[in-house]
C-alpha cells in the first residue's frame, strides 16, 4: 500500500517534471494539443482562475497520501469546505470576526479541490511540504524581528505608523508578486499574447507582466522592480518564465525570502481547452534548505466571467482607520497588546 502510494507519487512528479498532463486518478493521460496563435506560439489567451481548497502543503492528517481516490477526495473536499466556508458562525466571536463576510463574497472555486485530487499543491519535495528553513543570520533575524514587531502592533490594532501595515494592506503589491498563489477572492489572471510577448495581467492588484519571449536579455541587475524582471521562452508547448531583479525590500517575497538570492521559475502549459497547468519552483539558499515546486491548475472562466478593475490604494480608507483608531485608543490609555484595566479589575 505504502509502496504503491510512493510509486504513484514518483510517477506524478516525473510526469509533472516533463510538463505533461497530470492524469486524474485512474485515467490514462489524454493527448491534448494546444491551439496555436496565428504567429505560431501555443495559445494561452483568456481569463483564468486559480482558486482551490487544496492546501499548499500536505496537511498533517492525510498520512503520506499524495493523490486520493474518489471516496477519499470527496471526504477531503468536504472537510476542507467545512474548515474554509465563511458561512459558519461557530467558534466564538473571536473566530467569527475573522471570517469577515458571508461565503458569497468569496471565490466559490476556493472550496473545490484540484481535479487531480492531490493532497497538496507542492509536488516536490514528495512529502508535499515546504523544505525546512535555513537558520537566519543575526542580521536577518533582527530584520525579521522588526517586521514581526510591526505586525504584532498591527494585529493588536495599534500600528505606530503606516509601515506597520504589510505591503498588501498598503496596496503596493498583493497576489501579483510571483509565485501566484490562490487567495480568498479575485483569483483571476488574464493572459494576452502578441508576437514576441506573453502578457499576464493579475486582477489583484492591476498590473501587466509583459514577458518578452524573443530571447532578449534581462535588465541589468541594478535595475530592480517589485515584480522583478521577467523573460520567457517556449519549451515545446510550455512557457518557461524566469524572473530576477526583485527589489531589495524584505517582506515582499514568499516567506520573507531574500530578494538578492531568491530565484523563481514558472511554467505554463495548456493541458485542456479550459485548463492551464501553472507550476513554479522557488529557491533561496538562505531561506530554504532546498528548492521546492508546486503545481496549481488554472481554470478558464471567460467569457462567462470577466476580470474587473481592482483599484486598491485609491480608496484604501482602512489605512486611516487603522492609524486614527490606534491614536484614539492610545489616548484612552491602551498600549500595544494591553487594554486599560476596567474599574475594579486586578492586573
Amino acid at each position: 500500500m505504502r509502496n504503491r502510494v510512493l510509486a504513484s507519487i514518483g510517477v506524478l512528479v516525473a510526469v509533472v517534471a516533463a510538463g505533461l498532463v497530470v492524469p486524474a486518478a485512474g485515467q490514462a493521460p489524454k493527448k491534448y494539443t494546444a491551439p496555436k496563435t496565428p504567429w505560431g506560439d501555443p495559445d494561452l489567451q483568456g481569463v483564468w482562475n486559480d482558486a482551490t481548497s487544496t492546501p499548499l502543503q500536505r496537511p498533517g492528517n492525510v498520512g503520506d497520501r499524495g493523490v486520493l481516490n474518489d471516496e477519499e477526495a470527496e471526504e477531503f473536499q468536504k472537510s476542507l469546505e467545512h474548515d474554509l466556508t465563511r458561512d459558519r458562525r461557530d467558534g466564538g466571536n473571536a473566530a467569527d470576526v475573522n471570517r469577515a463576510y458571508n461565503e458569497h463574497w468569496m471565490d466559490a472555486r476556493r472550496l473545490k479541490i484540484t481535479a487531480d485530487r492531490r493532497t497538496s499543491l507542492i509536488v516536490d519535495p514528495v512529502d508535499g511540504r515546504i523544505p525546512p528553513l535555513v537558520a537566519p543570520s543575526p542580521e536577518r533575524r533582527r530584520a525579521q524581528a522588526a517586521r514581526a514587531d510591526g505586525a504584532a502592533r498591527f494585529a493588536a490594532g495599534l500600528p505606530a505608523d503606516f509601515t506597520d501595515m504589510s505591503w498588501p494592506v498598503r496596496c503596493v503589491v498583493r497576489t501579483d508578486v510571483p509565485p501566484y498563489l490562490p487567495t480568498i477572492y479575485n483569483n483571476n489572471f488574464q493572459i494576452f499574447q502578441s508576437p514576441g510577448y506573453v502578457t499576464i495581467a493579475p486582477e489583484m492588484i492591476h498590473s501587466a507582466r509583459i514577458i518578452p519571449v524573443d530571447g532578449r536579455p534581462h535588465l541589468n541587475k541594478d535595475l530592480r522592480q517589485w515584480l522583478g524582471d521577467t523573460r520567457g521562452h517556449w519549451e515545446g508547448s510550455t512557457l518557461v518564465v524566469e524572473t530576477r531583479n526583485f527589489k531589495s525590500e524584505e517582506g515582499v517575497l514568499f516567506q520573507g525570502a531574500n530578494p538578492a538570492t531568491f530565484t523563481i521559475t514558472e511554467r505554463f502549459t495548456r493541458v485542456a481547452s479550459d485548463a492551464i497547468n501553472y507550476e513554479f519552483t522557488l529557491a533561496d539558499p538562505i531561506t530554504w534548505t532546498k528548492p521546492w515546486t508546486a503545481l496549481i491548475p488554472w481554470n478558464k472562466v471567460d467569457p462567462g466571467e470577466q476580470m474587473f478593475e481592482y483599484a486598491c490604494h485609491e480608496d484604501n480608507f482602512d489605512m486611516v482607520h487603522f492609524l486614527t483608531g490606534a491614536r484614539l485608543r492610545e489616548k484612552n490609555g491602551e498600549t500595544a497588546g494591553q487594554r486599560p484595566a476596567r474599574p475594579g479589575e486586578e492586573r
Partner: protein
C-alpha cells in the same frame, strides 16, 4: 583643387536638399495638427486579428499633463526647496479651438481645484477625494489623461475580443473589450472601454469613469457623466494620431476634442519599467497619523 571639389560637393548636397524639399508636395500629403507631414493613405501592416497592428510601446510628448490648454513655464510645487527641479515646461493647447468649454459654475470649480491641487486631507472618508490632484496621490489617471502622462504605455493586441493597454504610471491597465455589449457594471478609475474598428482607426468608447480623476495638473475635471471616445490611427510606422472627444453635460457646454501624435519608442529592447508610486505618497497621505513619541 580640394576646395573646388568640396564646393562642388556642397553644391550637390544643396541640390539634394532643395529637391527633397520640393518633392513632398508631389506626393499626397496630410497635415497633422502638429504641422508635420505624413503620407496620406498610409496602410499600416496588419496584426493577427486582421486589423492595423498597434502592438508596441507608445508615448506622447505634449505637455498636456501639466495643462491641456496653453501654458507658460511654471515653478514646481516647492521652488524654495527644489529650484528648477519639478518646474513645468510651457506647452500649446491640445484642445481643438484652444479652450475647454466650461459652464460658468464649473469653471469656478476648476479654479478651486487648481488652488487646492497640493492639498491633502484623508482624515475623513467622506472628504477623502475632495482636494488634491489625484496624480500626486498616485491614483490611476483615467482616460484620456493616461495617454498623455509623461510615461510610455504598451498596447498588446493579439486575437480574441480583448486589447490590453498597460501604462507605466502606477502599473495602470485597461482592457478594451472589442464589439462588446455589456455596459459598465460600476465605475472604475480607468473606465470601461469598448472598442471597434472604423477602417484603420481603433475607436474606443469609454464610460463609467470615477468622477474623481482630473484631466491635468491645472485642475481640469469632469463628473461621473463623462463620456470619452478615442480614435487611434497609425499614420506611419512610428506615429499614431490620437484624438479624444470629451462629453460631459454636467460640466461642459458642448463636447470638445483633443488631439496629438503618439510616438513609437524605438530604443533597442525598450520595455515598460515600473513606476509604482504608492510608497512615494504614504508620508504625504498618512504621515500625520503617526504615533508621536514622547520627547
Amino acid at each position: 583643387m580640394q576646395l573646388r571639389r568640396t564646393i562642388g560637393c556642397l553644391g550637390v548636397a544643396g541640390v539634394i536638399v532643395l529637391l527633397s524639399l520640393a518633392v513632398p508636395p508631389l506626393l499626397g500629403q496630410q497635415r497633422s495638427p502638429a504641422g508635420q507631414q505624413f503620407p496620406s493613405a498610409y496602410r499600416p501592416p496588419r496584426a493577427a486579428d486582421g486589423h492595423p497592428d498597434l502592438n508596441g510601446i507608445w508615448q506622447a510628448f505634449v505637455t498636456a499633463n501639466w495643462d491641456l490648454q496653453d501654458h507658460e513655464a511654471q515653478p514646481g510645487p516647492h521652488p524654495e526647496l527644489t529650484g528648477a527641479y519639478g518646474a513645468g515646461p510651457a506647452g500649446q493647447s491640445i484642445v481643438e479651438g484652444g479652450e475647454i468649454p466650461y459652464k460658468a459654475d464649473a469653471l469656478a470649480k476648476k479654479k478651486a481645484n487648481f488652488e487646492n491641487r497640493l492639498r491633502v486631507d484623508v482624515s475623513n472618508d467622506k472628504t477623502w477625494h475632495a482636494f488634491g490632484d489625484p496624480e500626486m496621490k498616485c491614483y490611476m489617471p483615467g482616460v484620456p489623461r493616461a495617454t498623455y502622462m509623461p510615461f510610455p504605455f504598451h498596447i498588446v493586441q493579439g486575437t480574441g475580443p480583448y486589447i490590453l493597454m498597460a501604462y507605466e504610471f502606477t502599473s495602470a491597465t485597461r482592457i478594451i473589450r472589442m464589439d462588446w455589449k455589456q455596459a459598465a457594471p460600476t465605475d472604475s478609475w480607468m473606465g470601461w472601454s469598448r472598442g471597434r474598428w472604423d477602417a484603420d482607426t481603433l475607436v474606443v468608447d469609454v464610460t463609467g469613469q470615477r468622477e474623481e480623476t482630473w484631466f491635468d495638473r491645472a485642475g481640469d475635471f469632469h463628473s461621473d457623466a463623462l463620456h470619452v471616445v478615442e480614435r487611434y490611427t497609425p499614420v506611419s510606422p512610428y506615429h499614431m494620431m490620437y484624438e479624444a472627444t470629451i462629453e460631459d453635460p454636467n460640466v461642459f457646454t458642448r463636447p470638445w476634442k483633443i488631439s496629438f501624435p503618439l510616438y513609437r519608442r524605438m530604443e533597442k529592447n525598450v520595455q515598460l519599467l515600473e513606476f509604482k508610486c504608492v510608497p512615494f505618497t504614504e508620508e504625504l497621505l498618512f504621515g500625520t497619523f503617526r504615533k508621536q513619541t514622547a520627547r
